[in-house]
Subunit: 363 residues, 2 copies
């Protein structure tokens, strides 16, 4: 029996993160997520070293918890009296939990038809929720709401928490800890595939590996794989077409969490793809749902659809010959299955409808 | 930046667990759960050292994952072709996930009116589910079903997985890792409060601390606090009344997961209470629901009701003067909030009904 473990969340890496005094550090045990070797899907794809990084096992079920831990600690340190933002669900549940832990009120704007289960996961932590007509559909309304977030934050000495480097660069630094943990668990891999909506997760992981290279702890970046839905592929298309900005077009994707048609972190995403011999994958929602099912059925990993698009994108890259089958590859599984209960019901409705009912004597 | 972490789940403690060859060890990253210091509730109760052990952050959201990792590894090692059992939900979701990871089919009997969300979490991993009339209500049917589980397991070379020391003592050894992790994170505490249904979780934690004492790594057991619902308090009443067996009476508790009127691990529970100057708490379901809400609102910890009964039981012990307020105390939070979506809806229905709707111009 060994005695070694201490649960310090992202603060294990405090020396490499924005400075927060120990008494201001908030943690709910985020990070230190498992890296699990594939037992079935990798072999079928002919991949010899496939791993899943289970960000779905963070305290509120998504990688957002790393950002929230940093954001609320910064808010506490600078004496902010509340925090404020917008959410489609996961960031809101995460910030609400960490705000509760910090004893700081959280005000959050959501779209009128937010998924009920996602709303509930925000409300259990007693956040102050406000619905806004047209938010999530009309880009002009989105801009207006964001201006309100900024204005109210400045006017009231509140912390604005938006999970993008473009808006909250210090809090987003915490996303790098994903890369640092992978490097520690496995060494720097040959390729990392990441779900991409606004680009913050992808950018943070790239920055983390970039830092490792800067410190001469590795000689080469992993190839960064950006995985987007065919219904919302503005970043990958913008990069592939050399536009220097996201391609245009509203989102028609059904995958909650990555429906971001005006991705704020485009510049870092393009830099990462350019400098790492990156790979862009654009996959149909049906493929993402298929790999979500396969992860649950064959690997025992139950994630939300957005968490499976990294695997769907990798499969496409392998089948089109853009990835070496002997490479050491990590797929980021960004969020937990229970985040999307509508999809859960669809996944199992056929099986649920055909469960036999027996008398105990008939078994 | 430090590089230290490897995700080996319960196998970090392999030297102290039943022998499983490395190539037969199954893990999804269970264990290594956070131990979080209370930031608000402890101070209000006048407790100087209150901690929460978040078993809710295991891969499928409950401590059962530690047992499943061991059970499926043992099944694989002994060449079993399937596993079989019964469940009210959490064990089933856990075993189903680990069976999927191991590539071993899982057959499971459930009651006719199993909570839909709990059923879905079993089905996503493609378990073979069978409903049985009267299971969960009629003890005679429960006995019959259990005989079927044993008979089928023996006849077919399947592994019977029932999460109790009385039925699966080797797999249950893995529960001790909770105690070993706490000892590592904090040292051996003065008291540990545990949700008690069948008694397996409580027994395993006691055994883990007992082992630490046997190895002379600690001089004293923590006081073991057994927390039961007033609607299903057969173990605590049996101990308090000196019956030498559980008290009689069907369960009327509404708290899913601890409604066990014929607890199989009574002998170990009584031994633990006797030898550790133990404490029994019997709390009304309303108290448990109240502390579930308070944990979410004030500590950022969202657990299912059964996971909050350890805190409810501690509060009772403190208020009745049975626990020293300066003691180092750990409450085990056994399962995640998303396990009980009916309760989730109840928790937030008032808040959800009063969310204001604004035009963006009105904000």
């Amino acid at each position: 029996m060994l005695f070694y473990m201490i649960s310090t969340g992202i603060w294990h890496f405090a020396d490499s993160l924005p400075v927060v005094a120990p008494h201001n550090r908030i943690t709910l045990g985020e990070g230190h997520t498992p890296l699990i070797a594939s037992s079935s899907i990798g072999a079928e794809l002919g991949l010899s070293q496939l791993y899943f990084k289970l960000e779905s096992l963070n305290p509120t079920g998504s990688y957002k918890d790393r950002i929230s831990a940093m954001a609320l600690s910064l808010a506490k340190q600078s004496g902010k009296t509340a925090c404020i933002g917008t959410t489609s669900g996961n960031a809101g549940a995460s910030i609400a939990a960490y705000a509760a832990k910090a004893g700081i009120p959280y005000h959050v704007y959501v779209q009128e038809n937010i998924i009920p289960a996602k709303l509930e996961q925000v409300l259990v932590h007693q956040a102050h929720v406000y619905k806004v007509k047209g938010l999530g559909f009309d880009p002009a309304i989105g801009t207006k709401v964001f201006e309100q977030v900024r204005d109210k934050a400045i006017r009231n000495n509140w912390e604005a928490v938006i999970t993008a480097f473009a808006y909250a660069p210090l809090a987003m630094e915490a996303v790098q800890t994903i890369a640092w943990e992978i490097a520690d668990q496995l060494g720097v891999p040959d390729a990392v595939f990441v779900p991409v909506g606004g680009g913050g997760l992808f950018s943070g992981i790239y920055k983390g590996f970039h830092r490792i290279c800067e410190q001469n702890k590795a000689s080469k970046l992993p190839r960064m794989g950006a995985c987007q839905s065919a219904g919302c592929s503005n970043l990958v298309r913008g990069w592939q077409q050399g536009l220097g900005q996201p391609a245009a077009g509203a989102s028609t994707s059904m995958i909650s969490g990555i429906q971001v048609s005006n991705p704020p972190d485009a510049d870092i995403v393009f830099e990462a793809l350019d400098s790492s011999q990156g790979v862009g994958s654009i996959v149909a929602d049906e493929e993402t749902w298929k790999w979500q099912r396969e992860l649950a059925r064959r690997e025992g990993i139950y994630c939300e659809p957005a968490g499976a698009i990294s695997l769907a994108g990798l499969v496409q890259a392998v089948e089109t010959g853009r990835i070496n089958r002997t490479d050491k590859i990590v797929c980021i599984v960004s969020g937990a299955g229970y985040k999307d209960l509508e999809q859960q019901r669809l996944m199992v409705q056929e099986a649920a409808a055909t469960i036999p009912l027996y008398d105990a004597d008939q078994l």
